[in-house]
Symmetry: C2
Subunit: 473 residues, 2 copies
């Protein structure tokens, strides 16, 4: 499927050399920032700054024009005024450039008539010269393996999640959220107005890419709905594909028109289309990120029978009640525990102050020691009706009661449990009064591949999204 896309786009995501057009000795210019960002990210290929005034930037010679660059150029990043782009495309053709990525904006998104005309001319020139266009009005390629970051951004660890985004801002957030939450990307792309290579091309590429297991997408609109639908359907058939559609409302659609020149269809049409194509639809950046974080961790899906374990220390009752609500409202099952499990919990925890149903409130374990707590959690995990385990931790309560040592022991146990059997362990770690300690713990769990969410609602929504995808396969 789409194997030709691999051959077509791999050289663009793994360029041996990049020219940045619009660089100058002045580091405040966007072109100069691109050069500096590529250097600081450690791009292993050759970087050729290009700018009419020449000079040097970060010890690199700035070539007055692309044609004067001595070596071969695979990818060109462009940050020059739009008046100069047509001539530049001729230069690209002369240099046998594979693709050119336009940071330059001010096309159809600004003025449908004049900007649209210019885009048409760009397409003609590029087509004649055998050059592919990414954008315009975009921040282009992100490829951790090849150390290609977005403008002014850092590049995260390589991984198995790919993304496409019409918007550069949201592409940038996906990249930084990935670094913050240990979502490791294979590659991503922001394609802006997408006049040549567009969502369908990049989705087909990610669908075929053996290094990509999960795909996220932010889309505002498309010029070829049928092709996009067929692409989404085919890609979602082989890999989980999570789509966030921007411009769903009138205010959003108006902004989308100004933003990437996209004509948005009605949200109902999109939702129906995505459902029919087997993709997962999400409604916010948070939900997109949450769902990718969870899917990255999933090898195979057993089902959505969730055990909710609350009250690792005192105070879990109400939290358990609302956790049950959140899971059911998101469409998860919260199955009854087997009589064996309940009996075992009763023996371990006692009846007073415990909730031995599901949600399970294990707060009484604080009076019986950590081994009892661990045994209780293991007995729930082993219950045959349970597919996935949600553990609610609250650092504001745990730290005063167990101290740092106890908190570490509890989380060591959970990390080992997560690695030691097949059911996913998901941690809910809400904000509170000890944000620094919470961030530390969150980072520790995420680094150990344990998904962490700040609320039960967010965890439940992500799980439900995954379940809807896998139960349709």
């Amino acid at each position: 499927m789409f194997e030709t896309k691999l051959k077509e786009l791999d050289p663009i995501f793994y360029p041996k050399s990049i020219a940045v057009v619009g660089a100058s000795a002045d580091s405040i210019k966007a072109g100069s920032l691109w050069v500096l960002t590529l250097i600081s990210a450690g791009f292993p290929g050759t970087i050729y700054p290009v700018g009419s005034r020449g000079g040097r930037i970060a010890d690199l010679e700035i070539f007055p024009s692309l044609r004067q660059v001595p070596g071969e150029v695979d990818l060109v990043i462009v940050a020059i005024p739009r008046q100069a782009v047509l001539e530049l495309l001729d230069d690209c053709a002369a240099k046998n450039v594979k693709a050119v990525q336009f940071f330059t904006a001010g096309f159809s998104e600004m003025d449908a008539q004049e900007g649209g005309m210019l885009e048409k001319q760009m397409l003609e020139r590029a087509g004649r010269g055998g050059v592919r266009i990414i954008g315009p009005n975009c921040i282009g390629i992100y490829c951790p393996e090849q150390k290609i970051p977005f403008l002014t951004g850092t590049v995260g660890e390589p991984g198995s999640v790919g993304f496409v985004s019409q918007s550069g801002g949201i592409a940038g957030k996906l990249a930084t959220n990935g670094i913050a939450r240990h979502i490791h990307y294979s590659k991503g792309v922001s394609f802006g107005n997408g006049i040549d290579l567009d969502a369908s091309d990049f989705l087909q590429y990610l669908g075929a890419d053996p290094g990509t297991r999960v795909i996220g997408a932010y889309l505002e609109g498309t010029r070829d709905g049928v092709r996009l639908f067929n692409t989404i359907k085919e890609v979602a058939g082989v890999k989980p594909l999570v789509v966030w559609k921007g411009g769903r409302t009138e205010a959003g659609a108006e902004a989308a028109m100004s933003h990437t020149g996209s004509l948005a269809s009605s949200p109902a049409v999109w939702s129906a289309m995505l459902r029919q194509a087997g993709a997962i639809e999400v409604q916010s950046l948070e939900e997109l990120t949450d769902t990718l974080l969870l899917l990255q961790r999933i090898d195979h899906w057993q089902g959505a029978g969730a055990a909710i374990i609350g009250g690792l220390a005192d105070g879990g009752g109400g939290i358990s009640v609302s956790a049950g609500d959140a899971c059911i409202a998101s469409g998860l099952r919260v199955p009854r525990l087997s009589p064996d499990t309940r009996k075992k919990l009763g023996t371990l925890l006692g009846e007073v102050g415990s909730i031995l149903r599901n949600p399970v409130d294990v707060s009484q374990a604080q009076f019986r020691g950590l081994p009892t707590l661990f045994e209780a959690i293991e007995s729930v995990t082993g219950d045959p009706s349970i597919d996935i385990i949600l553990v609610q931790e609250d650092i504001d309560i745990l730290l005063p009661i167990y101290s740092q040592k106890g908190l570490d022991d509890i989380n060591d146990f959970l990390v080992n449990l997560s690695g030691g059997q097949s059911k996913p362990i998901i941690i809910v770690l809400p904000p509170g009064a000890m944000e620094l300690e919470r961030l530390q713990l969150e980072q520790r769990l995420l680094a150990a591949s344990v998904p962490v969410f700040s609320s039960m609602e967010r965890a439940a929504t992500a799980i439900s999204n995954a379940d809807q995808y896998f139960s349709r396969q």
Copy 2:
């Protein structure tokens, strides 16, 4: 309205002396923890530890029984086994105690028959002795003014938000979230099984309390629905009342039964009841906290015409698109800016790469300096169709471009703008790769009374909640 409740409950929220029954020299016991927590919070009245074994805790004498306490006792906090509670209530009566708060659990929430019977007996004894009961199965009173914290918790700055919670865990989260997000409470209470004083009593008290301007509530169920409905209606008529109903689903309701012995009604019944009573219904702890944070800042409500200002630095387009979606989806209006405002923005920012509609993308200001950015924001704020201003900041993008100095200047400007005119300024500050810097900025803004939310969806939901309340008044 409910003025008698003030006289009745003020002495409980402002006790001059507290006895803690169940204290011992062993600081791991819950009773001992209560004593230590009261001391470390700086409770200004007298603390009397009571425990059958006597001894000392933190330099205080432990009295063998409540009757042996030398002075008057206003409030008794109880953490002893349930077998001993009836006798204790006789002691309370003998000492003319005003109220007794039972941390002790294991009543109707565990065993409807036997536990329910015991609760009946408790009510009889307390009624005979003129003693009021809070709980059982609760963490009771929280009163920042009187330096009364929850068990093992700290006490925040006093303020104007009151809360009631059936659940101790959620009451605790409200308290810590208040400290973290600068929601300043007048007072709060967790009332557990609520066999005597219950949600209605405390809501009436907060409704009458002149120090409370806004009220939040977490409820699981009630034994007297009509009284609760009438109370909510009357209280919501004078102050914004935000209600989160736990136990909405079967899993939640089952946990609620085990938790506070509450029989939950159907969620549809609750929603209809809350709507009819003029209360604001929310669906999660996050939404409850978000809505209280916003309401705390609101003096008067102009309307829900929101201006969305995005892209303080590059990359705002897609963020603006989805922000528009989030606001409209939550029921806000995103009005067109007046021709004057649009003209002014065009002059300030130029056309290329800007979105001069609402959502406004002001990213081009980065090339024109901060005074231009500030003028652009001021012109939007001054637009007559705008009631409320949402500013999207992204530290991952702002900090590399503007450095710490520029970021400080931008936020100084926003803080001044917030204080200098009547329209609320709301900041959306999403998570990303620089969490420490983000936390610092968030704390700074919150300390200056500027509400901060981690996503546009959360901000829009809180605003919509406030708008629904005020537009019904």
